[in-house]
């Protein structure tokens, strides 16, 4: 089973945290979570809220819907109902529309994050499986001298072949490529070459059919 990144949910006693560092981390996380809950309550139920929180350092954080000041004023003035004849009512209606859109956007991107995270997990699992089956996929620190030297040679060979292929694709005019309909030219992306492509001055014509990397074969 994959190693868990953190301890997960631990039940804690609700009393003042003694360790300053823990306190600060807790404040940061919980304040953020609190605002998130407040935001969701506003979205789901269409209610108006204000929350004011002082940090351990004395700074003040506040969340308000439609905004902090109007809620405070309303509370202090003791007026109990929203004023729909308020000239700003139309502005608020527009604001609610943009909030709706933002929520949709947020939902979308959160889904994308989840997809990507799962993809990463799958890739990790695959790597783990391969590491246990193939010695050359194990971390370098676990290999012996013989293995390292073999791997080094294999990597050097791969590097040469990769360089050749990359050169071929980047300088198509100087190469006799039997089959140009492979669509590789669609894949130009701007990525700095990391200095690997410029080194060889190999006569590319020789490479025509033999640029294959067969490992050691």
């Amino acid at each position: 089973m994959a190693k868990k990144p953190s301890m997960g949910r631990q039940k804690i006693k609700i009393e003042k945290i003694e360790v300053k560092n823990h306190l600060q981390v807790t404040f940061s996380k919980r304040r953020s979570g609190l605002f998130k809950k407040a935001s969701e309550l506003c979205t789901l139920c269409g209610v108006e809220i204000a929350i004011i929180v002082f940090s351990p350092a004395g700074k003040v954080f506040s969340f308000g819907h439609p905004n902090v000041e109007s809620i405070i004023d309303r509370f202090l003035a003791r007026s109990t109902g929203p004023n729909s004849h308020d000239p700003f009512y139309l502005v608020e209606a527009q604001r609610n529309a943009s909030v709706r859109e933002l929520n949709l956007q947020l939902g979308q991107i959160i889904n994308e994050v989840e997809v990507e995270r799962k993809r990463g997990e799958n890739l990790d699992n695959m790597r783990k499986t391969n590491e246990s089956h193939y010695w050359w996929e194990a971390p370098v620190s676990k290999l012996g001298l013989d293995e390292l030297e073999q791997l080094r040679d294999a990597m050097e060979e791969l590097k040469k072949n990769v360089t050749q292929h990359a050169n071929k694709l980047m300088n198509p005019s100087s190469v006799f490529v039997p089959n140009r309909a492979s669509g590789v030219f669609d894949q130009y992306e701007s990525k700095p070459s990391h200095g690997i492509v410029s080194s060889s001055h190999v006569n590319a014509a020789v490479n025509s059919n033999f640029g294959y990397c067969h490992g050691f074969f």
């Binding site: 804690i12 003042k16 404040f27 998130k36 407040a38 935001s39 969701e40 309550l41 979205t43 789901l44 139920c45 929350i51 004011i52 929180v53 002082f54 940090s55 351990p56 700074k59 969340f63 308000g64 819907h65 202090l76 109990t80 604001r95 909030v99 709706r100 933002l102 939902g107 994050v113 995270r117 050359w136 370098v140 001298l145 390292l148 030297e149 073999q150 080094r152 040679d153 294999a154 050097e156 590097k159 360089t163 292929h165 990359a166 492979s182 590789v184 894949q187 130009y188 992306e189 990391h194 060889s200 020789v206 033999f210 640029g211 294959y212 990397c213 067969h214 490992g215 050691f216 074969f217």
Partner: protein, 237 residues
């Protein structure tokens, strides 16, 4: 705690909305209370709803007034510095999620290219790959080589110190040649590629003698390392 994923949009069903409001408002007040106690700080929450003419307040009317007074005593700039509303708060969340996504993309790309590299190391063709993949893979190969050389050096150093003898270059080459022959053997055994095992020795000799060998020789002119020299010795006696 609910199991169903809730859609983050206004609940149109009146009774469902009221029920949700009751639950979540209670939960919210609990969270404010916990935050205050755990971190020893002052806070207040004010909730207006269509279900009640009076707002629900935490800790209570008096406590809220106290906190609000404290709030208003602060300079305007301090008040607004960390002030958010729905719009700004959600935008902020979107930005953070976008950053997270970017990082995940990058990490996953590296994982994918690593996998590709190992595939190519054991025989997958480079032919169909695009420039971006080749470049990324080349970079990754370089990174790996750095690590490998470093560790080889470290091990040789440790061995040298242990034996108390300086390694002679000639000895290294001989040993390496044998190793090179060995590695051909090992890769034969472990390789999951599509070479016919029975063709092995001949296939190897064949393909290298044919054309790939030429490439290797030509590359030597760049002054590459002695490892490449080993190759020509092994496969072109």
């Amino acid at each position: 705690m609910t199991r169903k994923k809730v859609k983050m949009a206004f609940i149109t069903n009146d009774s469902a909305r009221k029920a949700t409001f009751k639950k979540r408002k209670k939960g919210l007040m609990k969270k404010v209370s916990e935050l205050s106690t755990l971190c020893g700080i002052d806070s207040c929450a004010i909730v207006y709803s269509p279900y009640d003419s009076h707002p629900e307040v935490w800790p209570d009317g008096r406590g809220a007034h106290r906190v609000l007074a404290q709030f208003k005593r602060m300079p305007e700039m301090e008040q607004s510095k960390k002030m958010v509303n729905q719009e700004s708060f959600i935008r902020h969340r979107i930005t953070k999620a976008a950053d997270q996504l970017k990082k995940l993309h990058k990490d996953n790309r590296e994982k994918e290219i690593t996998h590709l590299m190992y595939q190519c190391l054991t025989g997958k063709e480079l032919q169909g790959l695009g420039v971006a993949e080749l470049n990324d893979m080349g970079w990754l190969v370089d990174q790996n080589l750095k690590e490998i050389y470093k560790r080889i050096e470290g091990l040789k150093k440790a061995a040298g110190e242990r034996d108390g003898v300086e390694e002679k270059p000639a000895a290294v080459v001989d040993g390496s040649m044998q190793r090179a022959a060995l590695q051909q053997q090992w890769f034969t055994d472990e390789w999951m590629g599509n070479i016919n095992p029975s063709d092995n020795e001949q296939g190897v000799g064949g393909s290298f003698a044919h054309g790939a060998g030429d490439e290797i020789i030509m590359q030597f002119n760049d002054g590459s390392n002695h490892a490449a020299a080993m190759w020509s010795n092994v496969f072109f006696p």
